[in-house]
Amino acid sequence: MKAKILVLVIEDMPDNAELARKVLTARGYEVILAYDAESGLKTAKEQHPDIILLDLGLPDYDGQTLAGWLRDEPLLTHTPIVAVTAWPQETARQMVESYGCNGYISKPINVANFADQIAAFLKPPSASK
């Protein structure tokens, strides 16, 4: 039997992190949380999540810096990294492309389709066409 998909949510606001956990757990994902960049990097290196959701505003180092660190980890090179941000769309698009993220989801998250948005990033490239 296939193991659950593991989602790492790196988000400094506990309420936002818990909301993401609740929504994704209800859809059958396993969710782990980290609240800053250093613990997020450590958790990612130890747990090898299937996908990483990354808040761009973190209290120690910002999300762009962390995305760069994650991409430099050999075992995480191909792990989807999805920024979750309140930035305007064009700024978010430029920022995530430049820092090696696979895409972004706008804040506040839409609870109704959040899990579907995550699922889309988990599809292999051939399946997403």
Binding site: L58, P59, T65, R71, M95
Partner: protein
């Protein structure tokens, strides 16, 4: 002594009466719904207080009963003050706490004999902008926060006579003849920072200029620069090629570059992106 309001229950308490942990937690809570929340941990706030000469005795927390509603801080330098880190909890906005905090800082600056108060407000933060206008602040410029990813391939450095500047030489340069800079980029900010160094270039056509920066563990930041001779675009481009070829794996963030700065196209050519904008505002004593 606490400043006590006479017209409602909100009172101002000097920020120095709180721990840095309390101030950090409060500040973060006030920004949760910002487009650019810029949260901080304790170490980051402590560094901020040092870098920008924040005077906690003349900074305030707005209280109602035992509840902390908001915070605002005052930077203090020679003949000028700076309002920063202003924030009110989302659930308690529009009840006068922000107004009271800013008035408290204005009174504090006045009591210190500082004739100029500077601040920046994030562009499109309409309530804060309106509050500052109402209190007599006037717009003096629009500022850019720029970012450059370390994933961008390093450029080839432009051929030039390059001189590395140590901290001492760098600080001498930033202290001279740059006009009034935004608070974050003033010479005091760089003097307070660690790991400051610079580059000075002379190009084949005689163009000349310098760039001073702070190198953090993962980030280049706090740029100060000047074209001493020649075209700013040419000199700026040359300086950035040397900088980024020297540090090809470092992220870069620069704050509060004037939108009209003639060096700006050189930054965009080198892959810098605009993160967001701020409006700079000043208020001179007795200006209304």
């Amino acid at each position: 002594m606490s400043l006590t309001s006479t017209d409602d229950s909100i009172r101002l308490v000097p920020a120095s009466r709180f721990t840095i942990e309390q101030l950090t937690a409060l500040y973060n809570k006030t920004r949760v719904d910002y487009m650019v929340p810029m949260p901080m941990n304790v170490a980051r706030l402590a560094d901020y207080l040092h870098l920008y000469d924040i005077d906690l005795d003349h900074s305030f927390v707005a209280m109602q009963g035992e509840e902390m509603l908001g915070v605002a801080m005052l930077g203090v330098r020679q003949q000028r003050a700076w309002i920063t880190r202003l924030g009110v909890l989302p659930t308690t906005r529009r009840h006068g706490a922000g107004h009271k905090l800013v008035k408290g800082l204005m009174s504090a600056a006045d009591s210190l004999g500082l004739p100029l108060i500077m601040l920046e407000v994030i562009k499109n933060n309409v309530p804060a902008h309106q509050l500052f206008l109402k209190l007599g602040f006037r717009e003096t410029g629009e500022l850019l926060v720029l970012r450059r990813s370390p994933r961008i391939p390093p450029p080839d450095p432009v051929v030039a006579d390059a001189q590395r500047l140590d901290r001492t030489d760098s600080l001498v340069l930033v202290g001279h003849d740059r006009g009034m800079q935004p608070w974050t980029n003033q010479s005091e900010s760089l003097t307070n920072a660690q790991e400051v160094s610079g580059i000075r270039l002379t190009l084949a056509d005689g163009s000349r200029g310098w760039l001073v920066y702070q190198r953090q563990k993962f980030l280049l930041t706090r740029f100060a620069f000047k074209t001493e001779r020649g075209a700013p675009l040419t000199v700026g481009h040359a300086l950035l090629t040397h900088l980024h070829s020297q540090y090809p794996r470092l992220d870069t963030q620069i704050e509060n570059l004037q939108v009209g700065d003639p060096h700006l196209p050189a930054f965009y050519d080198m892959g810098y992106m605009e993160s967001f904008r701020r409006i700079e505002m000043w208020r001179l004593a007795n200006s209304g």
